[in-house]
Symmetry: C2
């Protein structure tokens, strides 16, 4: 059971290009980041890490990611519970398997409970940083893409201090893949 | 012949901790980044990438890195030419094989000429960004260390636009290494 941040980033650490919005959730040029997902159903590393994400038993998402993804129509995958961390709960009813939480600890506790003995997929830079700050993030999986976006939304912001990690795993696109599409999948455990 | 930025970074993209200075060039906690260099003379990946850096035939450094390193006593390795990119040339004579340049294009041209058919090691976040902006950086080699520094000096700042990369190589510490010391060495080519 792990709360695992799962994010695709440029080599310079951006998760979107500039000017991200609900109409352009990845910002200018940011769609480039998701090239590797074209291989998500192939047997290689992309398929492996995608299958792991789809095997999580709950989702904990930041509000921005949730809205920019069209609230996933209320179902991220397989109808698993989706806990959305937000400053202000929306007035309209939560769709599908979504529930809202305004406190990061509460969000983490609810997602853990919902996932049972499964893992939780944490999505969004804001949610990841909030969980890191309160010591509730267990793992980090980054899909590092060969591009410098130069501007946009950064995955990691300021933290009050160091966070030690332990290396878990390193996977890479196969040598047959185009050089511009060779993502590197890095997994780390957060030390407490 | 490549101008290759060679930098050690935390997973969140910092090259120093906070408050870096000549007295504490890596900032608070930043020395953690260089754990992997303990293995620089071993036959594994750390030894391989270190040997490559030491085989470069010139150095192009930013001024801050140069000063914080005590000007390397005028000799970074094997007496190769060191071109220091600076806004203002110091009054005192340049030590050893150091020369100063105030323009990034001039610095790049001089370093390339000095290296002949060898590579140039580019050092410092500022120098790397300056060369990226004018399209004079050829390669990027990052040594990614399992830690989030949370604050400090970032390797990559804002760029005017995207820079496309091509994957070149991925090396990792051997499985015998402590999990906190497992660096990942990533090399990319900058597309023009």
């Amino acid at each position: 059971m792990a709360l695992r941040l799962d994010m695709t980033v440029s080599l310079d650490g951006y998760v979107t290009g500039p000017h991200d919005s609900p109409d352009g959730p990845l910002g200018v040029g940011g769609f480039r980041l998701f090239d590797w997902l074209d291989r998500r159903l192939d047997p290689g590393p992309a398929g492996e890490v995608y299958a792991e994400a789809m095997a999580t038993r709950a989702v904990l998402s930041g509000r921005r990611t949730y809205e920019h993804a069209g609230r996933w129509g209320g179902d991220h995958h397989d109808g698993v519970p989706i806990v959305v961390l937000t400053h202000a709960v929306p007035d309209d009813p939560a769709p599908g398997s979504v529930e809202y939480a305004t406190d990061p600890r509460e969000a983490a506790a609810r997602a853990r409970a919902a996932a049972g003995d499964g893992d939780v997929a944490v999505m969004g830079a804001g949610a990841g940083q909030a969980l890191l700050r309160i010591g509730e993030l267990d793992e980090i999986e980054l899909h590092v893409v060969p591009v410098l976006l130069g501007q946009g939304r950064r995955l990691f912001g300021d933290l009050p201090g160091h966070v030690e990690l332990e290396f878990v795993r390193r996977l890479g696109s196969p040598p047959t893949e185009d050089l511009r599409r060779r993502a590197t999948h890095l997994r780390y455990r957060v030390r407490r």
